[in-house]
């Protein structure tokens, strides 16, 4: 296995972050272990559970299925970057608190990314569209009900 380090510069939550990483280092591992942005979580490492979801150039992707080097020159947004500029919770994050759209919190960062991705392109989604948008984010605590309610509430409040 190659130990060669590749230079990267990736914009993470609005800040340029340089790095020197081996090719095999996944994006999620770099975010968590090198940048200490531990909000993004690992659940399966084979692209099913969605807990690792981040925005890449504004679109939700699974960061366990990307190598850090592949994100070079791109923009990444993690859950830590969803807050408003003044540091307060986004409308969506606040809506999750209002409807209690989470319990253990483990799937939540990925869920927020997927939901925010939806609202960014579809500010008025139907319930079906919400469920489809979070269809790649598995949750074992909530049964999705209060999550769907949170996204609906956020859509209403964003108007």
């Amino acid at each position: 296995m190659s130990d060669k380090l590749h230079e990267v510069s990736i914009e993470v939550n609005g800040k340029a972050r340089p790095g020197a990483v081996p090719a095999r280092l996944s994006l999620v591992d770099w975010l968590r272990d090198e940048l200490c942005l531990t909000g993004t979580h690992v659940g399966c490492e084979h692209g099913i559970c969605g807990a690792c979801s981040v925005m890449l150039d504004g679109e939700p992707v699974r960061s366990c299925l990307m190598y850090t080097v592949q994100a070079n020159g791109h923009r990444v947004t993690t859950v830590e970057g969803l807050a408003k500029p003044d540091g307060s919770m986004s409308i969506l994050q606040d809506a999750f608190c209002e409807t209690h759209g989470l319990q253990c919190g483990y799937c939540t960062p990925g869920m927020l990314i997927a939901a925010q991705g939806l609202l960014n392109s579809n500010p008025n989604p139907t319930e079906e569209q919400i469920r489809d948008a979070i269809g790649g984010n598995l949750c074992r605590c909530t049964g999705y009900q209060q999550i769907v309610e949170a996204v609906q509430l956020a859509a209403e409040r964003t108007k």
């Binding site: 090719a23 996944s26 692209g47 679109e59 939700p60 990307m66 190598y67 080097v69 991705g117 269809g135």
Partner: protein, 274 residues
């Protein structure tokens, strides 16, 4: 890089199929050749008879492309079944085709429509029909030093064209147990002038049934004709058994789904006012 390293190098595009396999240590290329940043591989151009799509165009971009939806409607219909939003934001058209999973949606669409694959190597380019391209489960006729560069999707110019895609998967976004796709064109009198249909997950490669489809031409697409065609296709295909579906169940689904897509494509063609 591919010419130099041969089998120990692998192309990586979206990585949605390759990286899980690497994470589970089932595939261990010594080199990954990342083609994601090659701008020339990321385009979509519709010409008169053909829609040309660069291999590295993201599936979600294709899904949202209105021109493509009009000219090659089967693409958007197929993509609706591919994984989830995150998968399609990163996965590429070429990547899915090169991965050649016999139950995958884009390979089936390519097989049914007779798409052409443009392959490039250090030595030049060559073109393979979908039929020649897919050679077996998870394998293609590409040489170790070749990269899929472009895919040419046939555009049907007939006014009354309809297409449909469906599959049975256990959960939304899962691999299909069986998938089916169909496209038909009708003349003013409702007689079928062109037909293509196929099945995924029913053999070692995605299957198209040009001979059976040919027998639909020249007449109205009555239910019986459709049922017969679907039945014959189901008899001809060679599905496997696994944890979630037996051979018999797949064969049954093949007949049911082939019938459904032909009926739906027919209904859409009847309603088409292009």
């Amino acid at each position: 890089m591919l010419s130099t390293h041969g089998d120990s190098a692998k192309l990586i595009a979206g990585g949605q199929s390759l990286v899980p396999m690497m994470a589970m240590r089932l595939v261990r290329p010594a080199f990954l050749v990342d083609i994601n940043e090659i701008a020339e591989l990321k385009f979509a151009r519709t010409e008169r008879d053909t829609a040309r799509i660069g291999a590295c165009l993201r599936q979600s971009v294709v899904e949202r492309d209105g021109a493509l939806a009009t000219r090659v409607p089967l693409l958007r219909q197929a993509l609706a079944w591919v994984g989830h939003v995150q998968t399609r934001n990163r996965g590429t058209v070429g990547g899915s085709l090169a991965h050649a999973d016999p139950s995958a949606e884009l390979p089936l669409a390519a097989q049914v429509l007779g798409a052409k694959m443009i392959l490039r190597s250090a030595k030049g380019t060559r073109t393979l029909d979908a039929e020649e391209f897919f050679s077996g489960p998870m394998s293609t006729s590409m040489r170790p030093d070749e990269c899929l560069e472009e895919i040419h999707w046939p555009v049907w110019s007939e006014k009354r064209t309809g297409s449909a895609f469906t599959e049975i998967a256990i959960r939304h976004g899962d691999f299909a147990m069986v998938a089916a796709a169909a496209q038909v064109a009708l003349d003013a009198g409702g007689r079928c002038t062109r037909a293509a249909f196929g099945l995924g997950g029913a053999g070692g490669t995605p299957l198209a049934f040009p001979k059976i489809a040919a027998r639909l031409l020249g007449a109205k697409l009555e239910d019986k004709a459709i049922e017969d065609a679907a039945g014959e296709a189901a008899k001809e295909c060679d599905p496997g058994s696994d944890l979630h579906a037996t051979k018999e169940y797949r064969r049954h689904l093949a007949r049911v789904l082939a019938g459904r897509v032909l009926r739906e494509a027919h209904a859409k063609a009847l309603a088409a006012t292009r």
